[in-house]
């Protein structure tokens, strides 16, 4: 046993300097495009065309941002507000409906519970993006096409959300707590509100962050619905900004950076939760 280091599991092995160099490169690779987005959004046309490319921010950020906001046919300011509305409503609704269903699946007894839970898990794999043609026709019949409602409605719940909440509630809330509240005469809704909700705050934070990010970044369906309207989401407005015969990079990238900032802020505030959500989701699925 000369090579004692292999005796340990990797997670007990201290990272060598090579590990840090590797991770540093990965981080550089990950962060550079976002950083460069910022650099171009602060530059003049000449600086963008310069060779070798400049990697130091210029001083034109506010000029470029001002141009993005004052472009008439792009509706950029409105698009940011719309994205906040769409993502906000989707997040709140997902949190409420998924935790409610998760509570029922984890703690309440009813006929067909297990079978229905299997259905939820199966729907996890349904690529509903493939139904967009028919979804468009459905929205047409309801009269919602080209409204924010059409963008919001299909994302109000998620199978992942229900499953994630069920797993969390099953582990985090003891059965005795629910049962004693029931014996004290509390109705299910009261148990949900007073016992379950306070106990699952961490899971709500995780699911909320992941849902918000996905809703904010969604492009295909909002494009189908809101392209050409004067109330696009920010992703649709960005594609509009980047279309045309003569594209001004510094302006387009200023828009791209503005549409990315809210998510960077979320990563700074809730990065820990997002990491945990992704890692927990992996173990449980």
């Amino acid at each position: 046993m000369t090579k004692t280091y292999v005796n340990r599991a990797p997670q007990d092995t201290r990272g060598s300097w090579l590990t840090y160099v590797g991770l540093g490169l990965v981080l550089l690779f990950s962060a550079f495009p976002v950083y460069w987005m910022f650099v171009i959004s602060t530059s003049t046309d000449e600086a963008v065309a310069q060779m070798p490319p400049s990697v130091i921010p210029g001083g034109e950020f506010w000029t470029n941002v001002h141009e993005v906001f004052t472009l008439n046919e792009v509706f950029f300011a409105a698009s940011l507000i719309n994205s906040v509305i769409v993502s906000g409503v989707i997040t709140l609704s997902t949190l409420f409906f998924c935790s409610l269903a998760g509570f029922a699946f984890a703690k309440l007894r009813f006929r067909g519970r297990n079978a229905l839970l299997v259905v939820v898990v199966l729907t996890l794999t349904v690529p509903s993006q493939l139904g967009i043609v028919a979804l468009y026709i459905v929205m047409d019949k309801v009269g919602w096409n080209q409204t924010l409602l059409a963008v919001i409605a299909p994302s109000l719940v998620s199978a992942f959300g229900v499953f994630y909440m069920r797993q969390f509630i099953a582990h985090a809330v003891p059965d005795e707590l629910v049962e004693s509240a029931r014996i004290d005469g509390a109705l299910n809704m009261r148990v949900y509100w007073n016992i379950i909700l306070p106990a699952i705050r961490p899971a709500l934070a995780v699911l909320g962050l992941l849902t918000f990010v996905m809703a904010w970044n969604d492009f295909q369906w909002p494009l189908i619905q809101l392209n050409g309207t004067d109330f696009p989401t920010s992703m649709v407005a960005l594609s509009d900004l980047a279309s045309g015969n003569y594209v001004i990079y510094r302006r387009v990238l200023a828009g791209a950076f503005l549409a990315t900032v809210p998510l960077i802020v979320l990563l700074l505030i809730g990065g820990r939760q997002i990491v945990r959500g992704i890692m927990e989701g992996a173990v449980k699925s």
């Binding site: 460069w36 007894r109 729907t123 493939l130 990315t260």
Partner: protein
């Protein structure tokens, strides 16, 4: 139960006799029906907007359904599918989708494995690294693709600048969008950039669930770190590897945002001047909402659905096989 038994009898346990009847009705309702009320919003909303459109899509696919000419609508049987078989645009898009899919999935998952292995050590700033590699996952694809479009620009693009440093393309700079291989490579780079960190975290989470004594037992055979990764770690996390392969199959074959925004004129949905990088999802969008031919677009969606099922199945088998041999 024990909690309540210890507690002195509370007056709430004995409801006032006056409204015994309504209360007992209320509790029966709360016990029998309310659980269904709690789960129904999910099933109703998912049914209407998730499952029903997928089924209804099958009906649309065997109809002529023109947005601009409702009078021409009607049953056409399998005509749409027959048209699909001889549609050059469809086969071209299918080839592009697979080309980009292979160029993105394989490196993506391999690099993610290696990064996960780096993260699976005792590190300073554990959380910092994990959050850092998630930045691409959060960044909107629409926004990041615009940066990559500049990176891969023919004139003054950073990629060509790097190439010129090592002596390529001095006379005629490479036009990344013009050829299939280069456009695929550029788009695959964007896909890899977005998903490597996410997959690395999935692998890391599975790696940390491996019992430590598995490694200790194998150390007797003198396995070094590299062999440790391929001989012990990877086979142990095989279920998660299969999971990520399925995820990236479903996502990769429906690729839309990157090829859309990489186009010089994104809203045209043409995937390059000669459709060099038009994917199937893009073609569905173009046929449905530019040509306004929803019936044909629906039949393409069904074809894509079938293809995803088949490829996901094959990939699952392959991954199992490869993992099982180790």
């Amino acid at each position: 139960m024990s909690l309540t038994e210890l507690r002195p009898a509370s007056h709430r346990q004995v409801p006032p006799p006056k409204n015994v009847k309504t209360r007992s009705w209320l509790y029966r309702f709360d016990n029998k029906t309310v659980p269904y009320v709690f789960i129904s919003p999910f099933f109703i909303l998912f049914g209407i907007f998730g499952v029903f459109p997928l089924i209804f899509n099958g009906i649309v696919a065997v109809r002529n359904w023109q947005l601009d000419d409702p009078a021409a609508n009607g049953w056409v049987g399998l005509d749409n599918f027959q048209r699909l078989l001889t549609d050059e645009d469809f086969w071209n898009a299918l080839g592009n989708t697979f080309g980009i899919f292979i160029l993105s999935t394989v490196p993506q998952l391999l690099i993610a494995l290696i990064i996960a292995n780096l993260l699976n050590r005792r590190l300073r700033g554990n959380t910092f690294w994990r959050i850092g590699i998630l930045l691409p996952y959060l960044t909107p694809v629409v926004a990041s693709t615009l940066v990559f479009a500049i990176f891969f620009a023919r004139d003054n693009g950073m990629a060509n600048w790097f190439l010129s440093l090592v002596g390529f393309g001095h006379e005629t700079p490479l036009d990344w969008r013009a050829q299939k291989w280069s456009a695929w490579l550029a788009i695959a780079t964007m896909v890899n950039w977005k998903w490597i960190g996410y997959n690395a975290l999935l692998y890391l989470s599975a790696m940390q669930a491996i019992p430590k004594d598995v490694y200790e037992a194998a150390a007797v055979d003198g396995a070094g770190p590299w062999r440790q990764l391929w001989r012990i770690t990877v086979p142990m996390i095989q279920p998660v590897v299969v999971f990520t392969v399925i995820l990236s199959t479903i996502g990769g074959l429906q690729l839309f945002n990157e090829p859309m925004m990489f186009d010089e004129n994104p809203q045209s949905a043409s995937g390059g001047s000669d459709h060099q990088f038009q994917t199937i999802a893009q073609l569905i969008y173009k046929v449905g909402w530019k040509d306004l031919d929803l019936g044909y677009a629906a039949s393409m969606s069904w074809a894509l659905f079938l293809i995803i099922l088949i490829v996901a199945g094959i990939n699952t088998l392959l991954t199992r096989r490869i993992g099982g041999e180790r």
